[in-house]
Amino acid sequence: MRLSCSVNGTPREVDDVWEGESLLYVLRERMGLPGSKNACEQGECGSCTVYLDDVPVCACLVAAGQAQGREVGTVEGLAPAGELHPVQEAFLEAGAVQCGFCTPGLLVATDDLVARTRAEGRKPADAEIREALAGNLCRCTGYEKILDAVRLAADRMAGDAR
């Protein structure tokens, strides 16, 4: 089947999609966007987290056809080419990236959390960060530096808002 959707603001169309393929497979193998990762393909790790119409979801659990006509946002679209999003910068500075396989999904989940709390004029509390990121497994960091990165990004983005 043919699939048309918007990915990172760009209209995309791919043909010959098998109906059982996930959105993750289509992004990675048919659209040349392997940033979203394939760690479990069962919704248990969050490595493939993307925005589907502005809502973070596991791309591995979205049937490709369900994205027809929708807006998809991936890690590749967080910042314009040659730039870094504050969340990306914070992950680098805080040392929150080791092997990096969980990073794309965590960045999308963090971006969502920070954007939501910022819209409410506040920064996320630690317990809130933990609950918001509980769907993103990381095997390298023990999460401490990921928490540091989220706090850093939230601080900086709150600063921007003032």
Partner: protein, 291 residues
């Protein structure tokens, strides 16, 4: 494989009638796992995410009519006051990403004994509204589950909604997992006090071939509460303990990778006792949101 995307409820029902073996997909949190790992290869997938009627909830004849396609995240943010037990259950489900996609309708359609919504639906006395081109019928949720991952749904039917009466009293939900997030229930328990009917609702998850109620426990507790409803007096510890034992006695669990049968029985008795204690404390406070 065909991939159908009905735009209306009528189209969806026609599609299901025409291809009875078709698998409906909403949040995909069960279906896509099976497809990804080659365990499910349906001839037809019916995508229900474009049927507007399924994405809505509203009040109908005194009940909340929750469209089968409303994701758990919205149950938590929009229905925490009206469906407290279900919202508590929803908060324990998977991860934020899963709650953004997964639906109560999907939980019912899969009818896993470990589905997190079931104990809350059972305790609240929900009804499942199912439909086909033949018409619509309502099934009490306690009659919906027919076996391990089997339900009362006919092969031409789809789940339209669940209907739940707003609570007249406190509700609680408790679930055992061996991790603090993203975990399938080892055992779960839902409790609803119905002071308006002088009744008690229960729901047991992951501890029998199907989700089930604990009727003896409900009757026992309703009897013990006779008189206490009005006085809002203290609940004897022995009553809570006995209630826990009766809930546990209603379970018929097995040993599996997630836990032993003996532990499940034990955990149910503790969860039932504790949730009753919390619910009764809320009731005594006369919390207006619960009363």
């Amino acid at each position: 494989m065909d991939f159908l995307q009905p735009a209306t409820w009528a189209e969806a029902l026609e599609a299901k009638a025409a291809a009875r073996e078709a698998v409906p997909i909403a949040g995909g949190t069960d279906v896509m796992v099976a497809v990804n790992f080659g365990r499910l290869r349906p001839t037809t997938l019916i995508d229900l995410t474009r049927v507007p009627e399924l994405q809505e909830w509203g009040l109908d004849d005194g009940a909340v009519r929750l469209g089968a396609g409303v994701p758990y995240a919205r149950v938590i943010t929009e229905l925490g006051g009206r469906l407290p037990g279900l919202a508590m259950a929803a908060r324990t489900i998977g991860s934020p990403q899963i709650r953004n996609r997964g639906t109560v309708g999907g939980n019912l359609a899969t009818a896993s004994p470990a589905g997190d919504a079931h104990p809350a639906l059972l305790a609240a006395g929900a009804e499942v509204e199912v439909a086909s081109v033949r018409g619509t019928r309502r099934i009490p949720v306690s009659e919906f589950y027919r076996g391990v991952k089997r339900s009362a749904l006919a092969d031409d039917e789809l789940i339209a909604a669940v209907r739940i009466r707003p609570p007249a009293g406190p509700q609680q939900y408790s679930k055992i997992g061996t991790r603090n997030a993203m975990v399938i229930a080892v055992a779960a328990f839902g409790l609803a006090l119905h002071p308006d009917r002088r009744a008690v609702g229960t729901g047991i998850g992951s501890a029998a071939p199907t989700p089930r109620r604990a009727p003896e426990a409900e009757e026992f507790l309703a009897g013990e509460l006779d008189g206490l409803w009005e006085s809002r007096g203290e609940l004897p510890a022995a009553t809570a303990g006995r209630f826990g034992e009766l809930v546990a006695a209603a379970a018929a669990p097995i040993d599996d990778v997630r836990g032993t049968a003996a532990y499940r029985v034990h955990a149910l008795s503790v969860m039932a006792r504790r949730t009753l204690t919390w619910a009764w404390a809320d009731y005594r406070k006369g919390d207006p949101t619960c009363a």
